[in-house]
Symmetry: D2
Subunit: 138 residues, 4 copies
């Protein structure tokens, strides 16, 4: 397990909310994806355009997500998303998120992601976790 | 378990895709949420504005989602989302989705949702599953 | 002026609406962009990946939009977006949209778009309108 | 013309970009709408739930937008959106936006918005500009 935990901050906007006046849940996944990329950026991992050239890594596509929603949020709220790598596997990794508003828990999420490469035919495959990226993130 | 399975069809658009040229995953949750509402609509459940008045039900907020992504999709694809209620509980239900592109499996998702009511203070609570809605959906 | 007018149909979903219960306006631009691409697709213009190789055209970036909102829409509505090319210029074109719900006018939009190419440094430039594409669309 | 100009800051994320690697334009309208609300919030205008009760104002629906896109943006960019009220009319106002990335102009936008109220039948109408809100914003 990695010790690094990096926080990404989100302002909830009016347009992020649905007719019930609460955040429409797909928006949480927008922010989680941004928090995932922010984690790598803060660790020093270059843009995916660059890793495409150097490592064949086009990004970190999602393979599996399990998310539990605890409390609702609405516009005007500021959310903090604490991100860490919970587990490194050979060809994937588990990225974990805790979303809070002050002391309130909002949601918890664990994802399995891969470092994706493209085959000749354009389809996606899981590359072995690049040691250079793992070293930056631990 | 309910026998009803209702299919919602999605056209993937250019703007649904990310710089890697594949669907950006939060968009799948947009479509899953639309497929959820479409299921209730096809079963004859009225708009949430109406159920708010008649049953105190403002909608079906998500409590838990577990989603496995199998193949990627891109713009020009037509996806079918087969939706059913996998389980009725006292104060929640499990809604299940299978997303396919022709014979290709794209993703599978199981959600726990509630029939949400609002407390005096505006916070959300799970109502007992309304028998009238359950009867429409079985 | 071109004679071709091609209609793109949109179902408005719950999540497309804001706390006021009406479509949150950026979603109209999602649909307009999809209707723009749909127009070219129906005219027989290939995917942008292909035109990137054959013509250097990566897509049709927006340069200018002028949009007038007439009536609101909400979930459950079906909208029709009628699209045409109102004018061809040397290095740009005007694409025009009329969005209706049955007999109700919802919005009108005129855009200036270009056929975009990429310079060596990755920046975007307007290419002369490719005669082969214009011929397909007239 | 008002003198107040309030800046809203945006981080462009990976998922905000399209297969061409640049911001997909409807996302600019997401940010512009957030910058509009941010302007009112910074001026001391309460949440729309409150103004619904006190003034009958449910929000500031868009009537007209004219937007010119100058340069593209991509993920990793930080954008500043400078917002002001360019003109007050009897039943509407013009809100103007200048989006920049450092010294680079990205886009310019002028909107006509109204203070929206709901009729008995749920349809929207333009209210006279509330003097209390105008006073806060000047």
């Amino acid at each position: 397990m990695s010790n690094k935990e990096i926080v990404y901050t989100v302002r909830v906007e009016f347009g992020d909310c649905d007719p019930a006046g609460i955040v429409w849940f797909p928006n949480f996944f927008r922010w989680i994806d941004a928090a995932s990329r922010h984690f790598f950026h803060q660790c020093g991992v270059p843009r995916w355009e660059e890793t495409t050239k150097t490592l064949g890594v086009i990004g970190t596509p999602l393979v599996d997500t399990h998310t539990r929603f605890v409390k609702t949020a609405s516009y005007g709220d500021t959310l903090e998303i604490a991100v860490r790598i919970a587990e490194w596997r050979e060809k994937s990794f588990v990225q974990a998120y805790r979303v809070t508003r002050g002391a309130d828990p909002i949601l918890e999420c664990e994802e399995v992601r891969i470092f994706g490469g493209k085959r000749e035919d354009g389809s996606l495959r899981a590359l072995p976790v690049p040691p250079s990226i793992r070293a930056l993130c631990e």
